[in-house]
Symmetry: C2
Subunit: 198 residues, 2 copies
């Protein structure tokens, strides 16, 4: 994570611990930089005057957050710790001058953003699939290893369910059904497709 930033930037990172519920920044505040989530969860929300929150994103450990703040004078949403959390701040001025001074860093950052865009577009597309089974198939098809047969599972099935936009129950059932139908094989820490596709 944060492999996009040069050593110069990384050493300029400032860690900060947040208690659950604590506010990292609020809309309209002057931007100080972008953050990396080290541990815990933050939520990005837009809040109306009545205090209702509209959820924009939940950032978890390893993710970067408020990238657009580099190019804007003020934040456009609120960031609030959902759990106890630790974040690392990369000050705007340092990052931007590093980009100017060292085009390679700038390119690495662009590449990281471009990859994220790709990934997110794919996820949006995945959510257009209504059938749980087809959604799982879509995920498996896009995550097979080089052999086109094995899909390594990182994290728990519950996490995967969240990533797929399914309830864990639905995922458990779907996987059980697919295994019963002989479509997949369930191994320790991975899933194997019965008929490889690559």
């Amino acid at each position: 994570m944060a492999d996009w930033l040069s050593r110069n930037v990384r050493i300029a990172g400032v860690e900060r611990a947040l208690k659950a519920g604590e506010v990292l920044f609020r809309s309209e505040q002057r931007t100080v930089g972008l953050y990396e989530v080290i541990t815990g969860k933050l939520r990005l929300v837009r809040v109306d005057r009545a205090g209702r929150e509209a959820l924009l994103h939940v950032a978890v450990a390893g993710e970067t957050l408020a990238e657009a703040s580099l190019f804007a004078p003020a934040y456009h949403c609120d960031a609030i710790a959902t759990t106890n959390a630790v974040v690392r701040l990369y000050p705007k001025a340092i990052v931007l001058t590093e980009f100017e001074r060292n085009p390679e860093t700038a390119q690495a950052f662009m590449a990281m953003l471009a990859r994220q865009v790709m990934k997110l577009r794919t996820r949006v597309e995945q959510r257009n699939i209504h059938s749980a089974r087809d959604r799982v198939r879509h995920y498996l098809a896009l995550n097979t290893g080089a052999d086109g047969r094995n899909v390594k599972l990182t994290g728990t099935l519950k996490d995967l369910a969240g990533e797929l936009g399914l309830t864990h129950e639905a995922l458990y059932r779907t996987l059980a059904d697919m295994a019963a139908a002989g479509e997949i094989e369930r191994l320790k820490g991975k899933i194997r497709l019965s008929k490889p596709l690559a």
Copy 2:
């Protein structure tokens, strides 16, 4: 659209017309640059050996496409015209040297990518909302004008339904219900919230 690129880059753009079904590029091919969709629709897919397609994204007019190709030696998916289409190619070398020569262009590009990431994250979050009504509420809350009361509708309701990941029928019904319940007012080309939230 493409307001991120400097004049130098824009004039280097090369247009190309595609017939429906025509392939723009295939996975593994050497990258020549990124594209902007001028008219029509392209789909980005990953194809397995059996010829099955896994849809990654559908790019429509105004969108940019294959941004990550700037930083990779080969494409990682196939791009196929779904309709007759016109695209404009911005050659990799020109774009990249422009980034080095003119940091402002680089920053504009980064900013564009960062905004896209934001937007896509928000959309993914929106898709986590299951109730059609709440999904519409989420959309309205995030798209009110400065007065916190009016939401301008660009395009048709059908388009909006697609953006929300609902069928048009579901959206029509939901809007009708919300209007009947006095939650919203339906004006020409816009929707007004009965109780403003900002």
